[in-house]
């Protein structure tokens, strides 16, 4: 017996009498075979969310279950792809349907015609465990795709050669006479986290090249971070900078319910940007998922699961993956919209009561892990989620529930954005709970004095906030010279260190070494100015030193000329000596 549609109301439809209806099974709805997912079962009625526009559907049309939950295709060809929320390739859709996305289009996620050169790394007769690497395919110029075995068993055959993803590359005896054909791809359910054998603590930083993050709110590989901010405060620019420059090997970028033109920008820009490490276009390591705001809302809900499942797959190959979700608020709104259509009892601000659980489940899929298999690899997923709180007020449920599960908070600030202080991440509001865990790494790789230098600078910035309150009341001249000097230094920290232009060719990325040298110079200037003021040199004289200009332009010095930043240290000394002598 096939199911029949009994009610249609927006993206949610009800069907009666689907045989074997299981929760989260994918169904095909109506004559046009629209893709949907069962999200609630009451008696013989199934409530279905449809991933496409439901206009024109009529009660009585057929509904057929595929008997399987929503899944993605995992195999070579994912990288450099541009998918919608349910892993349909947008490029393929364009070929079939033209510039506008119409309904009922069925295009496989992985190209069925493309042949890949497969090199086996295992031998016939070998015992294989679930998660073992069967062989390799060069997926892009910089990424080797490791073909993972979806089963355990004894290898009956395997052959090198050129294959499409549908070709059989070998067979596996999984015991009791059962045989499985091995292909270059397999499927995985998006709502089910891929297994691993062990999770590690976060002790390695994800270097981003953004000074405010790397210095004051570092993100660990395998960690989680949230970026809440009102519109126009630079969430997307920050996310894109992270996608561009963070030292992950694979980037999964999810545009979830956001602007179409933003995705176009990423699509245009990434192939042109060159990865500083490999010298190849950034697109070679990137997969984009776009379900823009005007695309079907149910597919938006699915998009972050699609994204994280792809990320888990590359993690299992042993890569460091970073996943950007822009924006999780839009995902939560999709949940709310569907929950509303189901007439569920609303929780806070109309969001369903299970919002907190769903958010926690999603962020928990991040982590640095030891993978399955006989020769386990180490891989990680770092999740960075943008939040768009209504009116920029983070007391709302999505922000609050996210803050409870993420460890880094990058607080974007509208007043900084208005002042064109970018990135508009506020140093006092933001925090990272990874700092202590990461300090041993910094001490070893950067400098033993890095943690104290950073803490000192942060102390000054906090002091500035206190002093500013006094200044607001009595004006700057009422402060003692020493405190005025502190304000000079903190202004320097804010403008010459924290401000960073994403559009300046050099400034857009700062290595840790450069950050260290820059901060060291500024803090050295601080030492010297305090000393000089103590010795009675006039402040206005000290603030007109020529070296100030040099400090301000430090950020524009390219990585190849690190000497020029180093030499400023001596210049500071020299100019202060002279100032004191006079």
């Amino acid at each position: 017996m096939k199911g029949k549609l009994s009610r249609i109301s927006g993206p949610v439809v009800v069907a009666k009498g689907i045989e074997d209806a299981k929760l989260y099974d994918v169904v095909r709805v109506g004559e046009e075979k629209l893709v949907g997912e069962i999200i609630k079962i009451v008696g013989n009625e199934s409530v279905i969310q449809v991933y496409e526009d439901t206009s024109g559907l009529q009660p009585g049309e057929r509904v057929v279950s595929t008997g399987e939950p929503l899944s993605v295709e995992l195999g070579p060809g994912i990288l450099k792809s541009f998918y919608d929320g349910v892993q349909r390739p947008l490029q393929g859709i364009e070929k079939v349907a033209g510039s506008f996305i119409t309904r009922g289009i069925d295009v496989p996620a992985l190209d069925r015609k493309k042949k890949w050169e497969f090199k086996p790394l295992v031998k016939k007769g070998q015992k294989i465990k679930h998660g073992d690497v069967l062989g390799e395919v060069q997926e892009t110029e910089i990424i080797t795709h490791r073909i993972l075995s979806p089963y355990s068993g004894t290898l009956k055959s395997i052959k090198a050669g050129k294959y499409t993803v549908e070709d059989v590359i070998g067979t596996l005896d999984t015991g009791r006479g059962k045989k499985h054909d091995l292909k270059l791809y397999h499927r995985w359910f998006v709502r089910k986290p891929r297994p691993y054998s062990e999770k590690f603590p976060p002790v390695i930083p994800l270097l981003t090249g953004m000074r405010i993050i790397d210095t004051f709110a570092p993100i660990a590989k395998g960690g989680t971070a949230s970026i809440p901010g009102p519109f126009g405060s630079g969430k997307t620019v920050t996310q894109q900078s992270l996608a561009k420059w963070s030292d992950a090997q694979i980037v999964v970028y999810i545009g979830c319910g956001e602007r179409g033109n933003e995705m176009t920008e990423v699509l245009k820009e990434f192939p042109k940007l060159i990865d500083p490490k490999s010298g190849k276009p950034l697109m070679e390591r990137t997969v984009l998922i776009a379900n823009t705001s005007n695309m079907p809302v149910a597919a938006r809900e699915a998009s972050i699961y699609t994204g994280i499942t792809l990320a888990e797959y590359y993690r299992d190959m042993g890569y460091d993956v970073s996943l950007m979700a822009d924006s999780t608020s839009r995902w939560a709104e999709a949940l709310r919209e569907i929950s509303g259509r189901l007439e569920e009892m609303p929780g806070e601000e109309g969001y369903p009561a299970y919002l907190a659980r769903k958010l926690a489940e999603f962020y928990e899929r991040a982590g640095r892990v030891k993978t399955l298999g006989t020769n386990p690899r180490e891989g990680s997923i770092t999740v960075i989620g943008a939040i768009s709180p209504p009116g920029g007020d983070i007391s709302e449920p999505v922000s609050q529930n996210t803050l409870r599960v993420t460890k880094v908070f990058l607080g974007l600030d509208a007043s900084l954005a208005h002042r064109r202080h970018f990135p508009a991440i506020h140093w006092l509001k933001s925090y990272s709970l990874y700092i202590e865990a990461l300090d041993p790494y910094y001490k070893e790789k950067i400098s033993a004095e890095w943690p104290s230098l950073r803490d000192e600078a942060m102390k000054l910035l906090q002091k500035e906030a206190e002093l500013q309150e006094i200044v607001q009341l009595v004006g700057p001249d009422a402060l003692p010279e020493k405190e005025q000097a502190v304000l000079v230094v903190t202004k320097m920290l804010r403008e010459d260190y924290l401000q960073q232009s994403a559009f300046h060719e050099v400034d857009t990325f700062s290595s840790m070494e450069k950050q260290y040298l820059m901060l060291k110079n500024i803090m050295h200037y601080y030492e010297r100015i305090m000393d000089a003021v103590e010795k009675g040199v006039q402040l206005s004289f000290l603030t007109s030193l020529k070296v100030m200009e040099k400090i301000a332009r430090m950020k524009e010095i390219p990585e190849t000329k690190m000497k020029d930043i180093k030499s400023i240290y001596e210049e500071i000394d020299a100019q202060f000596e002279e100032a004191i002598k006079r």
């Binding site: 009994s6 009610r7 024109g56 519109f231 007020d393 200009e549």
Partner: protein, 458 residues
């Protein structure tokens, strides 16, 4: 075509029709009143037995007996053709100017379909509006959606017509069209626009859809979609550059809330439905450029912020979808600064695509940032000097104060017919910046200060 006389319930703009079959979701409906009057509606919810129909127009005079309902078997469509240029239509797409109904070349679903993000092309052609605050600091590009956030009593309409009149790109010969959708505005406001379009001769290249304040509010959900369907046709089939002005989106959102509450839906923030973001995006996202097509759609929605509150759901959700915003300020308006565009909260996200070498000028980015920073600092210092007095400010701070005043007087202020070229605007910016010490100009590359700024420094 099926006709039913089984209306069982009428609630606000919704009617419930029983015992229907073969009716599709979103299908268009014709309603024939007992008096013989005809109206239109759309299926909002359909189950095996009952169809819930949203009526466009007034439901007064409807009764459960004697009203018949015809299901038309397709969703709401608009017949489009090039002949629509120069014509005025109602909020439902019927001629309003006593002319004949244009012969349709194509009949298009007014809901359109989402543009495939892969098929989009980056907006990049700089549009010169002749208004300094926009051109220099919130540059508009073709294919952008840039709303005006206004408030009641502010001159947003004057600004909109000035933009419509003065907007131009480098290559002037291309075909352009203006589409104007009035959503729940007053007769007076509508005739202001019409008069201006007539006076400047823009009407020939314009299509107007008018849903006025006394027209049924449900129609407001249709009007912007008619405008955008026409825009898509003219842009992507007829290669025109289309500028769409929609005013006032606040009325649209009010209508959305009205329908949602009539359907007894769970309300979201301030009573607006939880899907308002998605709904608004199906309007705003219908702007842009498509690869391989010549035409473009640029959108200028106007909305009034209830209670001047930018965090109200309407401006808030709009700001999250659109590519920036032009914010009008009551404070500036009170100081008689016109147009009262406040550059600080205003933003154009696509600015960088349209400026720089070969587009405007290489110093554009730095200059814009410096003007922002300077004006922001000046405004901060104003409140400080109000407390401690100007004398206790440092010399540099006093220069900033002066800069902010001059900036408002000379840069923001301009006459409603003053059309400044981008060069004039940028030189004016440099001239104002010359009041600040050169060491303060940290946002601009040194070479540009030498090249463009030096001549204004005395």
């Amino acid at each position: 075509m099926k006709e039913y006389k089984t209306v069982s319930q009428i609630a606000g703009p919704l009617i419930f029709v029983d015992d229907v079959s073969g009716v599709g979701y979103n299908e268009l409906v014709e309603i024939i009143l007992p008096s013989g009057e005809r109206g239109k509606g759309q299926v909002l919810d359909i189950s095996e037995k009952t169809a819930v129909v949203q009526v466009f127009g007034s439901t007064s005079g409807l009764s459960t007996t004697g009203t018949s309902v015809k299901f038309l078997g397709e969703s709401l469509r608009l017949g489009v053709s090039e002949d629509m240029l120069g014509r005025v239509f109602t909020g439902l797409g019927e001629p309003r100017d006593k002319g004949p109904k244009p012969i349709a070349e194509e009949r298009l679903d007014i809901n359109g379909a989402p543009i495939n993000p892969y098929s989009r092309d980056e907006p990049r052609d700089f549009i010169q509006t002749g208004i300094s605050t926009i051109d220099a600091m919130n540059t508009l590009v073709r294919g952008q959606k840039l709303p005006i956030f206004s408030a009641s009593g502010l001159p947003h309409n004057q600004l909109a017509v000035q933009i419509a009149r003065q907007s131009k790109t480098k290559d002037q010969k291309e075909d352009f069209a203006v589409i104007f959708a009035a959503v729940g505005i007053t007769h007076e406001e509508a005739s202001f626009f019409m008069r201006d379009f007539e006076k400047t001769g823009a009407l020939e290249r314009a299509v107007l859809f008018l849903n006025l304040a006394d027209d049924p509010s449900v129609e407001r959900l249709i009007t912007p979609r008619l405008a955008l369907t026409t825009a898509e046709y003219l842009a992507f089939e007829k290669d025109m550059h289309v500028l769409v002005i929609i005013t006032d989106m606040t009325n649209y959102c009010e209508a959305l809330r009205e329908i949602a509450s009539a359907r007894q839906e769970v309300p979201g923030r301030r009573g607006y439905p939880g899907y308002m973001y998605t709904d608004l995006s199906t309007i705003y996202e219908r702007a842009g450029r498509i690869k391989g097509k010549k035409g473009t759609i640029t959108q200028f929605p106007i909305l009034t912020m209830p209670g001047d509150d930018i965090t109200h759901p309407i401006p808030d959700l709009t700001g999250y979808i659109t590519e920036g915003q032009i914010v009008l300020s009551r404070d500036l308006h009170k100081k008689n600064i016109s147009p009262p565009v406040d550059p600080l909260p205003s933003l154009s996200r696509l600015m960088n695509l349209g400026i720089g070498k070969e587009r405007t000028r290489e110093d554009h980015r730095g200059l814009a940032d410096q003007l922002y920073a300077g004006y922001a600092t000046g405004r901060d210092l104003r409140s400080l000097s109000a407390v401690v007095g100007e004398e206790s400010l440092s010399n540099v701070d006093r220069k900033y104060l002066k800069f902010a005043d001059e900036f408002e007087k000379r840069f923001i202020t301009q006459a409603s017919n003053e059309d400044r070229s981008i060069e004039q605007t940028m030189d004016l910016g440099w001239e104002l910046l010359s009041a600040l010490p050169e060491t303060e100009l940290k946002r601009i590359k040194k070479e540009y200060i030498e090249k463009y700024g030096k001549k204004f420094r005395k």
